[in-house]
């Protein structure tokens, strides 16, 4: 990948992290956490996004981030109290910032009017002005535009270019004539400004210049890059060596620079040493008094009085980089020597400047900026706790491990068939291999595991938006966001959770008035929790609302023809009616949870992931939706069974227990339908062989094995011929390799190399459910 594109990817990944940090930080502050580091972290998040966005020229993002950052900075410095309305505003800003990031990434464009309005509101919080596209934003028109330091100080000599400096190179041509002032002034206009001119620069470094890591020699080197220089040094202030402080500046440097660059370029050389030296720059021949009057030094007294006694110790024309004597190089050498000496306090330390006067020091070429070489590797000194790996590579690895597992199983089976003794070396080696294979598989699966945080983090915003839209006060509580699950599962969790939370706010929670009337706090609570239970991940969405309105649900289901109005239903059965296709409790399809999607869609998508969803509800207290999902979609713990001569896999997660039906427990209710009595309750008994069309004649249940399965709140017993064993199988998609087959979820390859189908228990149970409706049972 193009390295810049890779960094861009990193940037957007980092944005996601920063946005999450921003939101959780703001929420914590809203909760009353006023730890300065908390506010700092929030500020940094926006600051980082702005910084990166600037580097990629994402103007709109930079502009909005800037306003946001300003407000946060104000809060950080204590100028803006973290009051409730301020935090609400900032949370909205965080949402919009996320939209800006998404837009920059190629998502839907941000509503400009909304962005501008929010920016104004933010600015109003701090009394700042919103930078328009033409001012602040203009800095970012060119992705890499750099703004130099523009502080006040000695270098601020705005009038200098008008002093006629531009005409100076022409002076020799005047042939003794008195220069015409107006002609000189004209020659200073922009057309002629490009011609070479001479500046006289006087510089007296102070101790601060050196203690900040700057270097006179480097300044001289920089000046030489601009044009021809003629350098002299006044060393009259230099004390005797006994009194010399090597970290102090004694010399006064005068540089005559002839350059085609303008004054700004010359001033820029001294940008970093502003305030750390006494400096005077003027066009050659300009009246000194005028200049000094224009630029009174801020702190230090002017040192550049005419110095008749000036003792010039060194004077060299340096017109070419290869100049015979290179003052800059000399000073650098001397400076290096001084540094060495500073490291050894006992040694006598010569001043850096006097060394410059030694005319016979062998000359090193002027050091130049490192040229492009073969890029040396970047040493990341801090050991990285994480690495980013292309998902495709991990998937490829998982695929290979899947093959390895199958291969190992084949090998083990062959070994067993060939009659190898258990204690045979080969057999024992195979046992070890099996163990190792299993461990490799677990480790590889762990690579794909990620905390559900990424999904949970999107929910606070959703809650805010939905709550605002339906006019309810809602607090979202999350729990267990570090619970890990396979990445593909996480990706597909987002929609169901989103829908369930919408539902909880829209339908689950009562209006604030009703809540208060019922003696509850006006603010409703929606809780989103995740945890691991028996090798699966469980996600719960609960609310403290009114619970399922069962009479109403029943009426609706009856009016839509979903149930027979005369059939009595248990509370649980009524609750589960909301999962039926075509059911919608809202009498008006609201914009929020309507959208033509019902809980049946949620149920279907959970089932498609090998998961189950159930609901429990208590009138007046609220409802809990519980989803239970496999941790991975790549392997499955299955029970190997046979039915009608076929080897099939039943997902272990569906199986509650296995039973041997006794003749008196099985009650026929039709030509090929039975009920089975299990500890005083009846469940449908489904012959898998017949359900999948492997046989047409019913078998005697007494000669078979029943698997008691649970799918949601529905229980059923699946009738199979025998159970062969239990094993972990690698899931191979049937749809990807063949086509969807009703009743079959996927396929796998067994140890003997044969393909076995994995049962879609939900589909089998629900397909037969029609035969076992309560009405049917009653009859």
């Amino acid at each position: 990948m193009d390295p810049l594109a890779a960094i861009r990817d990193t940037f957007f990944q980092e944005c996601e992290e920063q946005l999450a940090e921003l939101e959780s930080g703001l929420l914590a502050i809203e909760e009353g956490d006023h730890d300065p580091e908390r506010i700092n972290a929030v500020f940094r998040a926006v600051h980082s996004i702005k910084g990166g966005a600037g580097a990629f020229g994402l103007e709109a993002l930079v502009r909005f981030a800037h306003v946001f950052e300003t407000a946060l900075d104000e809060m950080r410095s204590g100028g803006l109290a973290p009051e409730d309305f301020v935090l609400k505003e900032m949370l909205r800003a965080a949402d919009l910032l996320a939209d800006h990031v998404a837009a920059a990434r190629g998502g839907p464009p941000v509503d400009e009017a909304r962005s501008a309005l929010l920016a104004e509101e933010l600015a109003a919080l701090t009394g700042a002005e919103v930078p328009g596209e033409d001012d602040e934003g203009a800095d970012f028109d060119i992705p890499f535009e750099v703004v130099g330091f523009d502080g006040p100080g000695l270098l601020d000599l705005p009038d200098l270019p008008d002093l006629g400096g531009g005409g100076l190179p022409d002076l020799p041509d005047l042939g003794g004539e008195i220069p015409d002032i107006s002609a000189l002034l004209q020659s200073a206009d922009p057309i002629d400004a490009g011609g070479p001119r001479t500046f006289v620069i006087r510089l007296k470094p102070t101790r601060a210049l050196y203690s900040h890591g700057n270097e006179t020699a480097l300044l001289l080197r920089e000046l030489r890059r601009l044009g021809e220089t003629r350098v002299s040094m006044d060393a009259s202030a230099l004390p005797l060596i006994d009194a010399l402080d090597p970290s102090q500046g004694y010399a006064v440097w005068t540089v005559e620079l002839t350059t085609s660059e303008d004054l700004d370029a010359v001033r820029e050389v001294f940008e970093f040493v502003d305030g750390h030296c006494e400096l005077d720059i003027r066009p050659a021949g300009a009246p000194p008094a005028a200049v000094l009057a224009e630029a009174p030094p801020a702190a230090a007294p002017p040192v550049f009085e005419p110095a008749p006694s000036e003792r010039v110790m060194s004077e060299q024309v340096m017109s070419e980089p290869e100049a015979e004597i290179d003052v800059a190089a000399l000073i650098l050498q001397a400076q290096a020597a001084v540094k060495d000496l500073l490291g050894e306090p006992d040694a006598q330390a010569p001043a850096p400047e006097p060394a410059a006067s030694a005319p016979v020091v062998p000359l090193a070429p002027a050091p130049t900026a490192p040229a492009a070489q073969a890029a040396p590797p970047t040493v990341t000194a801090a050991p990285a706790a994480t690495i980013r790996v292309d998902l495709e590579r991990v998937d490829r690895l998982i695929d290979l491990v899947g093959e390895l597992v199958i291969n190992q199983a084949v090998l083990a089976q062959r070994a067993a068939e060939s009659g190898l003794a258990r204690h045979n070396d080969v057999a024992m080696g195979l046992d070890d291999l099996e163990q190792l294979t299993r461990e490799i598989q677990d480790s590889v699966m762990a690579i794909r595991a990620q905390p559900v945080k990424s999904v949970f983090q999107r929910m606070p915003r959703l809650v805010r938006e939905v709550a605002a839209a339906v006019g309810k006060d809602v607090r979202l509580v999350t729990e267990g966001e570090n619970t890990e699950v396979d990445k593909t599962v996480i990706e597909r969790l987002s929609d169901p959770i989103t829908h369930m939370i919408r539902n909880a706010i829209d339908h689950g929670l009562e209006s604030p008035e009703k809540r208060v009337a019922a003696g509850k706090p006006a603010e409703g609570q929606v809780k989103l929790a995740a945890f691991h239970r028996s090798g699966r991940i469980v996600i719960e969405v609960s609310d403290d609302g009114g619970g399922i309105n069962r009479p109403r649900v029943r009426d609706i289901a009856a009016s839509k023809g979903l149930i027979d109005p005369n059939v009595p239903l248990t509370d649980e059965e009524i609750d589960n009616l909301i999962f039926l296709p075509g059911f919608s409790t809202a009498s008006t399809v609201s914009d929020i949870s309507g959208r033509g999607v019902g809980m049946d869609v949620v149920k279907r998508s959970i089932n498609a992931l090998g998961g189950r969803i159930s609901i429990s509800s208590a009138p007046g207290k609220g409802s809990v939706f519980t989803m239970s999902l496999p941790l991975t979609l790549a392997v499955l713990d299955g029970m190997v069974v046979s039915a009608a001569g076929q080897t099939l896999i039943a997902p272990l997660s569906n199986i509650i227990e296995t039973l041997q039906p006794k003749p008196h427990e099985v009650k026929p209710i039709g030509p090929a339908a039975w009920l089975m009595s299990i500890r005083d309750s009846f469940v449908p008994l489904i012959d898998v062989g017949m359900a999948l069309g492997y046989r047409t004649e019913p078998v005697d249940p007494a000669n078979c094995v029943a698997l008691l399965v649970e799918e949601g709140a529905t229980r059923a017993a699946l009738l199979v011929d025998t159970i062969q064993g239990q094993r972990q199988v690698v899931i191979k998609s049937l749809e990807a390799n063949y086509r969807h087959v009703p009743g079959i979820a996927a396929a796998t390859i067994l140890g003997d190399g044969r393909v076995a189908l994995i049962l879609d228990v939900d589909a089998i149970v629900s397909r037969r459910a029609a035969d076992y409706t309560p009405a049917h049972i009653a009859a």
Binding site: R44, P370, P376
Partner: protein
């Protein structure tokens, strides 16, 4: 011998951009993720670090504290330190200079300006 630059920034994007630009220009790069880490890395690579580039807003130890820490180390009293800043107000720069910074690079930077700034402070 190529120079070694220590970059201290909590943003991975920024670290990557700096590393790319600096590597292209032939510099070696060592990285640190915040001020504390910066001081630790500097301690470990002390002899090798020729120039330091640091962000200001960082967790744990910010740029100001980091610079002060560097200047307290007798080996780095004169090591050039460039501060990365997006601040448009000069107070941050002034604070950084008070702490001992040599110069600054205003973000967003371009590689040319970056290398330019290094050249201006590095022998």
């Amino acid at each position: 011998m190529s120079k070694t630059i220590l970059t201290v920034d909590d943003s991975r994007t920024m670290r990557d951009m700096l590393a790319m630009a600096l590597n292209d220009a032939g510099f070696q790069v060592v990285q640190a993720v915040d001020g504390e880490d910066g001081l630790a890395v500097l301690d470990a690579h002390s002899a090798d670090v020729d120039v330091i580039i640091t962000d200001i807003n960082m967790p744990k130890l910010d740029g100001f504290g980091f610079i002060e820490g560097v200047r307290k180390d007798s080996r780095h009293r004169a090591t050039p330190i460039l501060v990365l800043t997006t601040e448009s107000d000069s107070s941050k720069k002034d604070r950084a200079r008070q702490a001992g910074a040599t110069g600054w690079i205003v973000k967003p930077f371009n590689p040319v300006k970056l290398i330019d700034a290094i050249r201006r402070v590095a022998a």
